[in-house]
């Protein structure tokens, strides 16, 4: 399933009229290129014919002609490759950033455009000429009934049309051919565009592009995940919690109005305490989803409140003077939450420290380190590693570094470093 989607992302379905326009443009370019080559060939041939007397003169002119071709063909190739690349990129909605480098001064970069041009001049040229002929012939056939009606005649290649029935027959065939061309255009456009990418892009360039797309989509996924968490948190906070609290309040009003010995009073009291317990459980749950204090007071305060929830003493040394970008704060918060949960679950530590600081003010590097006096060996036991993998994924999505220093016997120091230059990140 995901493979199919990936394929579609690389080669989206081409809309019909877009495909027709694209194909027409490619055919026009191929014909122009063919024309260019024919012109160069004509120049050489003319030179050869014009001075056929002295052999030395022929040699000189041949060398000059080939030189002209040698200069002309690369120029033509670069122009054609650039034009077709832009066309293909526009057709398939690919970013123009991956445009292949072509420089006349550097032969290595010209090999692919030259190969592409040769293909386009031979195979592509044949197809282009054929389809151009079919197209022009069809158009003539289409107007042939009018020509015949005014007493003229239409000549389409080897055929001459001069009766009404012939012209109508020709028009029908022309319509069929034109419709065929229109229907075939999207497929032809796609095939050509993928040919352009295959031939003109170096394999490493393709890999690099795939890699950067993967990195972007990973970062997007992490962000989307956090946005979703916040949505769930606010839904619960603004919807379910007040409702439950309202139930508890109403029960409280009922209790206050009931005489001490009223029948059923104990049940109401129990219902109220159940509502309260549910509310408390919900509150803990919501808090773990996304703490409001993170938005209001920033990373240091949120980590401080978090630390209060753990059974072991955790000291927070918050040296971050100002707030970090929101998605960085969220990511770091969940990293620290996961790290502290790991400390409590696995390390057997009696205390932990969290240090939040900026490494160098000018580079905006932030370092978060969590250390504990536990048994060490973090990350060595595979089955306990889920949390650390999650942290590694988050940190990697932000282009940060995660260093785990955890010798057996402890202590464990986990350090996360990442750049937070807003906008200039990555």
């Amino acid at each position: 399933m995901s493979r199919v989607e990936l394929q579609q992302e690389v080669l989206p379905i081409v809309k019909r009229w877009r495909g027709v326009l694209y194909t027409a443009a490619v055919v026009a370019r191929a014909l122009t290129a063919l024309g260019g080559v024919v012109l160069l060939g004509r120049l050489i041939a003319l030179a050869l014919n014009g001075s056929g007397h002295s052999t030395g003169g022929v040699g000189a002119i041949l060398v000059a002609g080939l030189g002209l071709l040698g200069m002309g063909l690369p120029l033509l190739s670069v122009a054609l490759a650039r034009a077709d690349w832009s066309g293909a990129a526009a057709l398939l909605d690919r970013a123009a950033g991956g445009r292949p480098e072509t420089r006349l001064s550097e032969p290595r970069t010209l090999v692919r455009p030259l190969a592409y041009t040769v293909v386009m001049l031979t195979l592509g040229g044949a197809v282009a000429v054929l389809s151009a002929l079919v197209g022009v012939g069809s158009l003539v056939a289409l107007v042939s009934p009018f020509l015949v009606a005014i007493g003229d005649q239409a000549v389409i290649g080897p055929f001459t049309v001069n009766t009404v029935s012939q012209s109508l027959f020709a028009a029908v065939i022309a319509v069929a051919l034109l419709a065929g061309l229109v229907f075939a255009s999207p497929a032809a456009a796609r095939a050509h565009a993928s040919l352009v990418f295959q031939v003109l892009t170096r394999p490493e360039q393709r890999l690099q592009r795939d890699l950067s797309m993967t990195a972007q989509s990973r970062a997007r996924l992490v962000r989307a995940f956090d946005v979703e968490r916040r949505r769930i948190e606010s839904d619960l906070h603004d919807g379910v919690q007040p409702q439950l609290l309202s139930v508890s309040m109403t029960l409280g009003l009922a209790l206050a109005a009931m005489p001490a010995d009223a029948p059923g009073r104990a049940d109401v009291a129990r219902a109220q305490s159940q509502a309260r317990q549910t509310l408390e459980a919900l509150r803990r749950f919501v808090r773990n989803i996304h703490p409001q204090v993170l938005i209001d007071h920033g990373l240091g305060a949120a980590v401080g409140e978090l630390a209060d929830l753990f059974a072991i003493p955790i000291t927070i040394d918050d040296q971050l003077a100002d707030r970090l970008p929101a998605d960085v704060e969220t990511n770091l918060y969940f990293c620290v939450a996961e790290l502290l949960a790991n400390v409590v679950k696995h390390s057997g530590a009696s205390q932990a420290d969290v240090i939040l600081r900026r490494l160098q003010p000018e580079t905006e590097l932030v370092e978060i380190s969590v250390r504990d006096d536990g048994c060490g060996g973090a990350g060595t036991r595979r089955h306990e590693n889920g949390g650390l993998d999650g942290i590694a994924d988050r940190v990697a999505a932000l282009d940060g570094d995660l260093v785990i220093d955890s010798p057996l016997g402890g202590p464990t120091i986990v350090t996360i470093t990442l750049g937070v230059l807003e906008g200039g990140r990555r």
């Binding site: 606010s234 007040p242 309202s246 109403t250 409001q292 938005i295 409140e305 209060d308």
Partner: protein, 233 residues
């Protein structure tokens, strides 16, 4: 219902009912609060849903007490708190009770810094379901008391681990109830111990926390809170 009203009226005889402004963006809770307070002998002069309306209502109707949520529109951060701080700047003695969904120490600090602790309450929203208790707390705050939710105190105690480790479990309980603004006799009733024992526990606690003994209730709560939050940052 009538019984509840007569009982509260008997326990705290007031010449006039307290005039309250309620600010809570959730309609369900706002209406619930209105019913609750009206049944307990308060008069609701305004019940609003935004911080702006709260400031306007606080200025216009000159209430005896403001009860406000922390998170309110438009950004759902601490608008309610900010509005309360603004109102208190204009009328320093205005009693304010802030209701919060969570224990957030950052909010407590913000609140107490703006107020010296007198005539201030910070309660978890859950407390409103103890109807009579909640009404009593509002009256204590109106009388100039400080009422901080026991959950906040216990979290502060956890955070200020080092010196507070020396407190016994009972002393911590007393500290938590004391921070709600209760008198010694009320603490004794709540914890089902003698008043003499309460006095002894408070004396020990004050000594362990290096706070000089003090009879004034607001000041002793404020002192404890100042101590608790003083060394956290």
């Amino acid at each position: 219902m009538t019984e509840a009203v007569t009982r509260t009226a008997a326990s705290s005889p007031l010449p006039e009912p307290l005039r309250v402004v309620i600010a809570e963006d959730n309609t369900l809770l706002r209406e619930g609060l209105e019913v609750l307070l009206e049944r307990n002998g308060f008069v609701i002069v305004a019940a609003v849903g935004t911080a702006e309306e709260l400031i306007a209502a606080g200025r216009e109707s000159d209430p005896d007490l403001v009860v406000t949520d922390v998170r309110m529109p438009p950004t759902y951060r601490s608008e309610g708190l900010a509005a309360a701080v603004i109102l208190r700047k204009e009328r320093p003695a205005l009693p304010v009770v802030v209701l919060s969904q969570y224990v957030e120490q950052s909010y407590v600090a913000e609140l107490l810094d703006s107020a010296d602790g007198a005539g201030i309450g910070y309660l978890l929203k859950d407390r409103v379901s103890d109807v009579n208790e909640f009404a009593d707390t509002l009256r204590r705050v109106h009388a100039g008391g400080t009422a901080v939710d026991p959950a906040v105190i216990s979290q502060m105690i956890k955070r200020r681990r080092d010196p507070l480790q020396r407190l016994t479990a009972r002393e911590r309980e007393v500290l938590a109830v004391m921070a709600e603004g209760h008198s010694n006799s009320a603490i004794a009733r709540r914890l089902v111990i003698s008043e003499a024992a309460v006095v002894k526990h408070i004396g020990n606690t004050m000594m362990k926390l290096d706070l000089p003994p003090n009879d004034d209730q607001n000041r002793r709560v404020a002192a404890v809170l100042a101590y608790l939050r003083g060394q956290e940052g």
